[in-house]
Amino acid sequence: MKLQRRNSLFPIMAALALFAMMAAFYSCDNTFHVFDDIQTEVKQVGTDIFKNATVKALGDDGTNYYAAMAKAWYRPIAGGDWKVLPIAGDADYESYSLVSDGSGAVYAVLTKSGSPAIYKGTAAGTTWTPLTLGSLDGLYLDELYFSNATLFALAHSGTGNAIKYSLHHSDGTAAFATTTLTNLATPLIGIGHDGVNYLVATSTKVYKAVAKTGPWTEDTPPGDKIFGGIAADHANDIHLSTQDGYLYTWDGAAWSAVKTIKAKQILGMLAEVETTPGSAVYRLLVAHANNGYYEYDGVAAIEGDDSGTAFGPPTSAYTTTIYGKTVLAVHSSSVASGVDEILIGLASQGSSTGYALYSNKYVSGAWSGWSAE
C-alpha cells in the first residue's frame, strides 16, 4: 500500500500559478460587469427567416421598411410581420440590393429567370415600375446607391481577373446612362456627396466628380490605406474608414489628418445616426470587422457596449444581439415615418441562434436597446 515518495510539485505549481495570474491580469478589464450584464439579458425572439441569415441592405418609404435578404422583405413601420415583397405582382425572384431615396421611393435590383432588372417602388410598395436598363444592358448588376437625388448602379462585365466595374446613373425615371467611371478593377464600397462633389471609393482609391457623369479624378487620402466604408453625414462631410482602424474626413475641400477609431482593427461600413431624435447630435456607427460596431462622436470611439453608449444600454442589449457579428447595413427611419427607429442588418452568423436584423426604437425618451426583428 505504501507508495514511493516523490519530490513536492509545489515549485512547479507555484510557477504555473504565477504565469496564469499574469496572463489573466493582462487579458481582463475590470470595468466590465459580468453578472450585471447577464442579469439584464433578455431572450431574443425574432422572426425565423432572419435566423442565421444575411441582411445586406435596408430602406424605407415612410410606410414600410424594406430589407434585402435573397428576396426583398417588408414590414409596416407601424408594426407587423416581415413578408416577402411581391414586385410587380411576382414573388419569384432574387434580390440582393435595394435603396430608398428618403422621399417615398424604393429601388431594388432583382433577378428574374436569370435576367437582371431594377424596379422602382412607390405608393407604399404597391406600385413597381421597371427602370430601363440602358447602359446596364448586358452587364452584371452589383449594387445600387442613392446620393444627391441620383440613383447609381454599380455593374461589371467579364469574369475572373478580367472583371471590370463601371458606374451608371439614373434620375429614377430615365434609362441608366454610363458615367466616365469605368474599367475599375475593384468594386466600389460606396458613394457620398458633399454638396458639390460626388466622392466614390474602392478599397484603395477615392474618385471625385462634380457632375454625376464625371469626369472623375482621383483624390485618395494619403497613407496607402485599404478602405472599408464611405458615407456622408448631416453636414455633408464625407467619412472614409480604413481596414486598419482609422478614419478620414472630407470637408468639401480636403481630407483631414487620419483619425484613430481603434488602431489595427478592421473597419467597414459607416452610418451616421442621431443620438437623440431632434437633438442634432450625431454619432457615426462604424462597423468593426465581425465584432459589431464602434460609436464615434468625432472625438473618441467606443464599442457598442462600452460605458457611454448612445444606443445600447443596458450593455447586454448590444452584446446579445450585435456583438460578434458583421454589420452590413444601418438604416434610420425616415422623417416621414413619424417613428424614431434604427435597423441594423448583419451578415450570417453561422449559428441557428443569431438573427440578421435587429431594431432599436426611441420611446419614452430613451432607446429601447437592440431587439431581434
Partner: protein
C-alpha cells in the same frame, strides 16, 4: 433539461454512495496515503449549476438567466500534516445564458483539505480561496473566488480512487466607486465525478 437533472442526480448518487456503504474499521491515515509528506492529484468533471446571483441588497426574483453547464477541476495537494493537505486547483466552468452567450469561469485557487478514510473509501472536506477569471462576450474580469465542499472516492488501486465531489462556488464580483452598483455575488454548485491519484 431532464437529461441534465438525471446526470446531476447520478453524479450526486455516486458522490455519496461510498460514504454510506462502509462499515470497515478506520485506518487512521488511509494506508499511509494521508500521511504527512504524501501528495495527490485530483481530476473532476461534472456539472456547473448556477444557483443564484444577487446584488448587495438582494430582492426576491433577482434574475439568474444561466443554464446548467459543465465544470472541470484539476488539483494538487500536499499533506503538510497527517490528514491535512494544502495545494492548489485550476478549474474551469461554463454556462450559457438566455441570450445565447457563454459565461466561462476559470478559477485559480489555493486549497486546504482534510482527508479521512474507512476501508476502501476516502473522503475529503475542504475549501479554496483564489481568483477567478470570468469571460463573457470577449470581456474578461478577475474576481475573488471561494469554494467549499467535499468529495468521496472509492479506492480501486494503491494509487487511484474514483468518486465524486460537491462544492459551492462563491464569486463576489465587486466594483467600487461609481460602479459599485454593479457589484454582484454569484453562487454556483459544482457536482462532479472524478479521480484521485496518490503518490
Amino acid at each position: 433539461m431532464k437529461k441534465s437533472f438525471a446526470l446531476i442526480g447520478l453524479i450526486a448518487l455516486v458522490s455519496i454512495l461510498p460514504l454510506a456503504a462502509q462499515i470497515i474499521p478506520e485506518d487512521p491515515f488511509f494506508g499511509g496515503l494521508h500521511r504527512q509528506g504524501s501528495q495527490l492529484i485530483t481530476i473532476n468533471v461534472g456539472a456547473g449549476i448556477p444557483l443564484f446571483i444577487v446584488p448587495d441588497s438582494p430582492t426576491p426574483g433577482d434574475p439568474n438567466p444561466l443554464s446548467i453547464g459543465a465544470s472541470l477541476n484539476i488539483g494538487y495537494q500536499y499533506f503538510v500534516r497527517n490528514k491535512f493537505s494544502i495545494g492548489g486547483a485550476l478549474s474551469g466552468a461554463y454556462n450559457s445564458t438566455i441570450g445565447g452567450r457563454n459565461l466561462f469561469l476559470a478559477p485559480l485557487s489555493f486549497r486546504t483539505g482534510y482527508w479521512f478514510g474507512k476501508g476502501s473509501i476516502e473522503a475529503s472536506l475542504g475549501g479554496d480561496i483564489g481568483l477567478v477569471i470570468m469571460r463573457l462576450s470577449g470581456n474578461g474580469v478577475i474576481s475573488p473566488f471561494l469554494k467549499a465542499g467535499g468529495g468521496a472516492y472509492f479506492q480501486i488501486t494503491n494509487a487511484w480512487s474514483l468518486g465524486g465531489q460537491a462544492f459551492w462556488w462563491f464569486i463576489p464580483e465587486i466594483h467600487f466607486g461609481t460602479e459599485s452598483a454593479y457589484t454582484r455575488y454569484g453562487n454556483f454548485l459544482e457536482l462532479s465525478l472524478g479521480a484521485v491519484y496518490h503518490f
